[in-house]
């Protein structure tokens, strides 16, 4: 097994120590930053796939994410030096009136694991704030989360605000316990993800990267 494959395996297992060791050794051996990054993202992609198949659960995903994050911290200087940036930025938040953050945090974690730039606006986020942040960070994606059926209308309002603001290149994706594809279609969202791992695939498909 190559060192890059070892790194991917360590991420898949959530083995933070092995992941950091492999990352450091690859850096010392002069491996390209992009290769190391691809190995890390490959590990998280596998984690996402197994999560979707119910082979692993949220804790395993979080542990893998920690290993990824710590390895990324080692890799960061090389990424800067090589001018490698996330291909696009996603703004994410729980919609106005809703204080729940579990789903939103999991999506943000998986998006970071896929090397998306992520701007997390937190919970109870007003529609205007999503628009402002998307403009400020030149975002390609806005992710809206809601746990409560009573706050689902805030998703519709946010989608409307984004459209009114003329952010034509921004894709709005939604998710949360009461959310369905039908609701996404009704409010004019660009996509719906039933879980955090699916949110990665959905966004990749929407922005075709």
């Amino acid at each position: 097994m190559s060192q890059l494959e070892s790194l991917t395996e360590a991420i898949k297992k959530g083995d933070r120590n092995s992941a950091k060791k492999a990352t450091q050794e690859l850096i010392s051996a002069g491996a390209k930053a992009q290769e190391i990054l691809d190995a890390l993202v490959g590990g998280m992609d596998d984690v996402g796939r197994r999560f979707q198949c119910n082979q692993i659960f949220v804790p395993e995903m979080l542990i893998a994410s920690r290993a990824m994050k710590e390895s990324m911290a080692l890799l960061e200087p090389l990424l800067v030096e090589a001018g490698i940036k996330p291909k696009f930025t996603a703004v994410v938040g729980t919609v106005q009136g809703d204080l729940h953050d579990i789903g939103k945090n999991l999506v943000a974690m998986m998006w970071k694991g896929a090397n998306f730039g992520v701007i997390d606006l937190g919970t109870n986020v007003a529609p205007e704030k999503f628009v402002t942040a998307a403009r400020e960070h030149n975002a390609s994606v806005i992710g809206l989360s809601a746990l409560l059926t009573t706050t689902m209308p805030a998703m519709k309002q946010t989608v409307q605000k984004v459209r009114e603001a003329g952010l034509k290149d921004v894709r709005v994706v939604i998710g949360g316990a009461p959310i369905t594809q039908q609701f996404a279609d009704e409010i004019g969202a660009d996509g719906f993800a039933p879980d955090a791992a699916s949110a990665v695939e959905l966004v990749r498909k929407l922005v075709a990267c």
């Binding site: 959530g14 804790p59 579990i102 939103k104």
Partner: protein, 317 residues
């Protein structure tokens, strides 16, 4: 039989005649119905600054809300949300409820001590602890159960409390937060000890969790609660299937879809209500209720529609 007796009989899966018992974990629409703020929504930061008389008036007012909610909507049980939440206030609230309603209603309070899904801020930290320091997590889990059973012993000595609702949520719509293997290590043994302890003290136990419980249904059953609550259709839980699988060993509560009450059509509400009654009632051991609660923002008319169906169709021969 009083509503309390009927509720306890349903928890014990005894056959009933007449209407299937009903309650809700919370009925938050008290401002709309009674012009009064729900006890859980009150801020009592100046509680200790109040005179004894003022505190007593607040306690009486909160007890009145619980009792009148139960009477208005024909609940058989009251799940208290003591505010302030100390054990002494719980005991006083129990006394006020009994004073206003005698033995009319079954009185429950929250009593879970097991780990539920942590909120977003704490989720990662909690997960890391499971992996990095499992022995400390086990020690804390045991301590939490010990403390809960200590409080339960005080409630037993005080009397008048009928049971506990254990409301730590374990599941998302897609399945449990913890894998079944981790659940069996960090939750099941402690839930089993907690439930056994409550039962030994003479209390009834309703285990609630949102979400898709099917991957851990066997483990929940091993812990031996009197009833499982929620049977969340949003999480894909089918009461017909659960009844078939475990209806002979545990009572069932819930399954009326809250999302239907909130965003569905009237027909959706009627259909969900009928489905829950049709599949929950046969053979007894069913308590009619929503899959969560009557929460803030829900339309009262939808809850009343659900109750209309129950009054017409929720009757044993």
């Amino acid at each position: 039989m009083t509503p309390r007796q009927r509720f306890l009989a349903a928890l014990d899966r005894q056959p009933l005649t007449g209407r299937v018992p009903h309650f809700e974990l919370v009925f938050f629409l008290t401002m709309e119905v009674f012009g009064k703020v729900h006890p859980a929504h009150r801020s009592y930061r100046q509680w200790l600054q109040m005179t004894d008389r003022e505190r007593e008036l607040h306690r009486r007012d909160m007890a009145w809300i619980y009792v009148e909610t139960a009477r208005r909507f024909e609940h058989s049980a009251i799940l208290m949300h003591p505010n302030p939440g100390e054990a002494e206030e719980t005991r006083r609230l129990i006394d006020h409820i009994r004073d206003l309603s005698g033995d009319e209603f079954c009185i429950l309070r929250h009593g879970d001590a097991t780990y539920g899904i942590p909120n977003g801020q704490r989720m990662a930290e909690f997960t890391y602890r499971l992996v990095d320091e499992p022995e400390k997590v086990h020690a804390e889990a045991a301590r939490r159960v010990d403390e809960a059973l200590g409080h339960a012993e005080e409630y037993r000595q005080h009397g008048e409390l009928d049971g506990f609702a254990l409301c730590s949520d374990y599941c998302f719509n897609t399945g449990p937060f913890l894998s079944p293997a981790m659940f069996s290590e960090f939750i099941t043994p402690y839930l089993a000890r907690l439930t056994r302890g409550y039962r030994d003290l003479g209390f009834h136990v309703i285990k609630h969790t949102d979400g898709n419980i099917m991957p851990i249904l066997d483990q929940l059953l091993q812990t031996n609660p009197h009833a499982l609550h929620s049977l969340d259709p949003q999480g894909g839980v089918d009461i017909a299937e659960v009844k078939r699988l475990v209806g002979d060993t545990v009572a069932l509560c819930g399954n009326v879809a809250c999302n239907a009450l909130d965003t569905g059509s009237d027909d959706d509400v009627i259909e969900s209500t009928r489905y829950a009654l049709r599949h929950g009632m046969p053979g007894g051991g069913y308590i009619f209720c929503t899959s969560n609660c009557i929460y803030t923002g829900m339309r009262l008319s939808r809850y009343e529609l659900m109750l209309d169906v129950w009054r017409r169709e929720g009757n044993y021969a």
